[in-house]
Subunit: 325 residues, 2 copies
């Protein structure tokens, strides 16, 4: 029931994943059984391997992040994560209330040994492909050790899931010199410089989109602002085009032509093309999607979750963080 277009986009995306994956996947569709059955009636699903798991409650955007643990224990988020904990599912994905997914997952599944705080990473476009920024808003006030752990988890994810060999790690700050930054980054810099990560030092706001580092670490306050500012560039560009187009018919035709090219050129700015972001550091595989996730985004989230579970990202995180303690 997660996201603005549930259950339609979620069910369609899950079925599309099953169609593409063949025997490799089974899917549990978690939510109010009747709503799911109504959605299923509109589409051909013969031969696809899924089950319905009934969950009678729905966490909406007005609920608090702890709703899945307290007021709405029979929500799709709580029931789905419980199924994951009990081993009935190898991973959980949701396009619903991200705060509720995060807190329910963290408290139900627990943290990986050596991880002080789980983190949500997000992908920003760069000159050299997606750049993973952690933390994207889960941890507002951080300690240096948290940032170090984000860097370790981000490096493992980027190397195993994005096939980036020895990913570059940058510490987001306000000057390249190690002496530049705030109290948090000055200390975090020391931890990162002394680690076995491919740490390239401080990077600045301008270096994110240029792709200077493939993994960017910062506290969740900064990361969330960066993420939302970057997303809004596309809106600004769209509004400017619209304003320009409104001046004359000639300009309308001209911007119509430009629009298609620009959209292709900046496709990677569009979060709907991304398949959701991982919650890293918990004993489980959880992917959180944008509330506006399309069926295609949901399908990609399913594949990403399946891969994360199969290649055992968490085992690598545990090994890396327990050995450095």
């Amino acid at each position: 029931m997660g996201g603005d277009f549930a259950p339609h986009n979620v069910v369609c995306g899950a079925l599309d994943a099953l169609r593409e994956a063949g025997d490799r996947l089974d899917v549990l569709l978690v939510g109010p059984e009747q709503a799911i059955r109504t959605e299923l009636a509109t589409t051909d699903h013969a031969g696809l391997s899924f089950q319905i798991v009934n969950a009678t409650e729905v966490i909406d955007m007005h609920d608090t992040a702890t709703a899945g643990l307290k007021a709405k224990k029979d929500s799709s988020i709580a029931v789905g994560i419980a199924a994951h904990r009990e081993g009935r599912a190898d991973a959980f994905i949701s396009a619903g209330h991200s705060g509720a997914v995060m807190s329910t997952a963290t408290l139900t599944l627990g943290r990986i040994g050596g991880v002080s705080r789980p983190t949500i990473g997000t992908f920003l476009p760069s000159e050299f492909g997606p750049c993973l920024v952690l933390d994207a808003g889960a941890n507002v006030d951080c300690k240096p050790q948290n940032l170090y752990e984000f860097a370790v988890m981000g490096s493992i994810f980027s190397s195993m899931m994005l096939d980036i060999k020895s990913p570059t790690v940058g510490l987001l700050s306000i000057g390249e010199e190690p002496s530049k930054g705030n109290d948090l980054t000055l200390e975090a810099h020391k931890l990162l410089a002394g680690s076995s990560l491919n740490f390239i030092g401080n990077i600045e706001g301008r270096d994110i989109l240029s792709g200077k580092a493939r993994v960017v670490v910062c506290d969740g306050f900064v990361g969330n602002i960066v993420l939302k500012l970057a997303e809004s560039f596309l809106d600004l560009l769209r509004n400017r085009l619209r304003a320009y187009a409104s001046a004359s018919l000639r300009k309308r035709i001209w911007t119509g032509m430009m629009h298609g090219t620009l959209r292709r050129m900046l496709k990677d700015f569009d979060y709907q093309e991304q398949g959701g972001v991982p919650l890293l550091g918990i004993n489980g595989v959880v992917i959180i999607g944008h509330g506006k996730s399309t069926a295609k985004a949901v399908k990609n989230m399913v594949f990403r979750a399946e891969e994360m579970a199969r290649i055992n990202i968490n085992g690598h995180i545990q090994k890396a963080l327990s050995s450095t303690q």
Copy 2:
């Protein structure tokens, strides 16, 4: 001698300001006399009202922020600010080492009563015209009171210099509710909500470019990252256009046509069009320009400084902050 194109752009910009302003302005050109005279020899300056003030040293980008106070007391920055303090000039502008300008100005001129920390504001484009973001990097670790003072100074500047009546003030955070944010913003929210400012509450990263608030306050760590990320958007767009153009002759012609339209459409992203940013909270008028300031930018900085001095921004800041203490 400030900036990457000194003394050429600085001298040309100052002379252009004199040509436009007529009798209203006198300019002191501060720097190595011979370099200034060499530059002046290349241009017609008959009848323009300026003087040369000799300063033998030059602070470059490798110098520390305190160079103007210690190692290079005869630099154009130190000598120019001293002339301002002594009343020989009503304002000081520089496109040079911004850290050196800031620390030299703060320590030489002193703070306005009621101001705990001077701040540098910066302008970002928005749907409704320039949005003033403070602090842009001068104050990395801030206290709630600092953010409140930035809001007061930013409101006065926006209202008096940009003619915005009762400018909206937003607190940059990671959620609209007053309960969302980090330790700093949660406390700052209370101060702002209890003030007489036109405080609209928390705003998010996506709200900056949409123009939800005309004055945005945050600590200098966040502000500097926001500023540099926003500036880099234009670079990314330029690189994407270039990559697209390289695919074929047809695409090269097409992007060449798009380029002009986009440049006009996003002109306000280009810092060279801006005339520099104010250092607010000091007993004086100081404008800091980008290192790559064009002659036009320098000219605009001169006019902005003249206006700030003439309408007595500082008197209003002092009155506002001493009355709320």
